[in-house]
């Protein structure tokens, strides 16, 4: 591994050094990079099976529009994503391609908006290369582009809001900010950041006679009023979360950049690289202050764009619940890439200035070597097919919680599926929502004992004590026949048992 590490760094360094001679070809390299990024986002879009979070959205879109909105109000996040997904599912069906089509469109749109931002901020060719090298090839970017969840939408809207803020298109800013609030529970932190950026870039808008900034943000806020009572209620609910730790934050940042594409040893280098880049970028972003030219500075605007939502979320996490996870930080990956491009691109290529871009090049290539789109949902499809191949009349599929029921039910060819009828802890799919979504709940003892039972148990760590106790008793005497593992969800274990025994 050490040999590989050395090779990787040298390789990256050599490649960057060669760029000195390839300056006249920078635009071709840039076009190639962006093209590769787009292709890699598209490649294998239907390869991974759905996992719980994706299947929850699919189940919601099976409802009629207004019922869907009302059911979503029982959850923590506003349902803008499901609203966008709803027509796609109704028209194109529930295949992986149909469900992931809107996210891939949004991911490609995000690259285009990022490009527009760089043009509006006057990025030099070499800065474009740095930023789009990261945007095009970072592992998490492929990940989020194929994950049918709200994050691609939030990324596109956050980038759109920034573009409209720096180009003084207030109506666009109102729209994006309003929609950001409807995307996710962390929306207000991005909303507030955009208010700071819009005010900083357009100081004339903070004018008492013509307060454009406040009016536009007030309109966005007013549009959120229908959901405000639900939002405030959800904010007060108990929610499963881990304590805030430095280790947890670093891990979340690492995943928000590389999305689990790097092997362990190289992953440590990835962490070091993120930390080093942030430190250097902060240092370089002080330049406008040194030059006493800090009004409307692109580098400062980009620093706020990348860092401020994180600082807001950190503050909230320290006061209340921890909301810093890879998903919420992943919204900032493109802003970080743009900031790094502006702040870290060396003016002259020397043996010292080339180290950081060289390491990034090496690590991006490594990430590409280890990226595989079909590992995202684990072996869920294979395990479901294994069960399908063995299914006989009278067999029962029994899930500990809805965490496994929702994704497995999309792949298993039987209606004899049930979830254990316990009241689950906050953070798990609640009984009321399960009933509306058509999840069948039952006690194993009440089911007709005929053939075998396949127990599917997602070890979520937040299951109720009663549920764990009952499930432990149920699986006694059974045989483990498979499992589904992925870094973003708890391990799922599948057991088989003859009921007559």
């Amino acid at each position: 591994m050490e040999v590989y590490l050395t090779w990787m760094v040298l390789k990256g360094w050599t490649m960057i050094n060669k760029l000195e001679y390839l300056k006249s070809h920078l635009s071709i390299i840039l076009a190639g990079l962006i093209g590769a990024g787009l292709v890699l986002r598209l490649a294998g879009i239907a390869a991974a099976p759905f996992w719980y979070d994706e299947s929850y959205s699919i189940y919601l879109t099976r409802l009629d529009l207004l019922t869907m909105v009302r059911v979503a109000s029982l959850d923590y996040n506003p349902p803008l994503w499901e609203l966008v997904l709803w027509p796609f599912v109704k028209i194109l069906g529930e295949s992986e391609l149909a469900v992931r089509l809107p996210v891939i469109i949004l991911a490609l749109l995000s690259v285009w908006v990022a490009w527009k931002i760089t043009k509006a901020l006057g990025f030099k060719q070499s800065e474009l290369l740095y930023s789009f090298g990261l945007i095009s090839l970072l592992g998490y970017m492929f990940w989020v582009a194929q994950d049918a969840r709200t994050y691609s939408l939030l990324i596109a809207l956050y980038l759109g809001a920034f573009y409209f803020a720096i180009t003084k298109k207030w109506l666009g800013l109102i729209a994006c900010n309003g929609l950001i609030l409807y995307c996710h529970a962390v929306g207000p932190f991005f909303f507030l950041t955009m208010m700071v950026i819009a005010g900083y870039i357009n100081p004339e808008s903070i004018n008492l006679k013509k307060p454009v900034l406040f009016i536009s943000f007030a309109i966005s806020g007013l549009a959120f009023i229908p959901w405000l009572p639900v939002y405030l209620h959800a904010a007060g609910l108990a929610f499963w979360s881990t304590p805030v730790t430095l280790q947890g934050i670093i891990f979340s940042f690492y995943m928000a950049f590389f999305g689990g594409t790097l092997p362990e040893n190289i992953g440590l280098l990835g962490i070091a690289l993120i930390i080093l880049s942030v430190i250097f970028a902060c240092g370089m972003s002080l330049e406008p202050f040194v030059k006493r030219d800090w009004i409307r500075s692109p580098i400062l605007a980009l620093m706020v764009f990348a860092l401020l939502p994180f600082l807001f979320m950190l503050q909230y996490s320290l006061i209340d619940k921890n909301i810093i996870v890879y998903r919420t930080l992943g919204i900032l990956t493109i802003p970080f890439a743009l900031w790094f491009g502006k702040a870290l691109t060396p003016v002259r290529l020397t043996k010292t200035t080339v180290i950081l871009p060289g390491l990034w090049t090496g690590i991006l290539i490594t990430g590409l070597l280890f990226w595989s789109p079909n590992t995202r949902g684990g072996d869920l499809r294979e395990v479901a097919n294994l069960i399908n191949a063995q299914l006989q009349p009278g067999d029962i599929i029994y899930h500990a919680t809805a965490t496994s029921y929702l994704p497995f039910s999309l792949y298993l060819n039987t209606v004899n599926q049930y979830v254990m009828d316990t009241e689950e802890n906050p953070g798990m799919l609640q009984t009321q929502t399960q009933n509306i979504l058509g999840v069948k709940r039952a006690s194993l003892e009440t089911l007709p004992a005929g053939g075998r039972v396949f127990f599917i148990w997602s070890h979520d760590n937040i299951e109720s004590t009663e549920g764990v106790k009952r499930m432990t008793d149920y699986v006694k005497g059974s045989v483990i026949i498979g499992g589904v593992n992925g870094w973003q969800f708890s391990p799922i274990v599948v057991y088989e048992k003859e009921l007559n025994k």
């Binding site: 909105v69 803008l80 729209a175 929609l179 009023i225």
Partner: protein
């Protein structure tokens, strides 16, 4: 959540998307106009 709130939610989202649509169309229109002007200058 009442039906009225759900309807208001859908309307608010539709309004925001309409705003976004208007801005995008205006950008497209201005870009097209600028391109046409450039071509005129080139022709002249």
């Amino acid at each position: 959540m009442s039906i009225l709130t759900a309807v208001l939610f859908v309307l608010a989202i539709a309004l925001l998307f309409a705003f976004l649509g208007v801005v995008v169309l205006r950008i497209y229109y201005h870009a097209k106009k600028a391109k046409a002007n450039n071509q005129d200058h080139t022709a002249n």
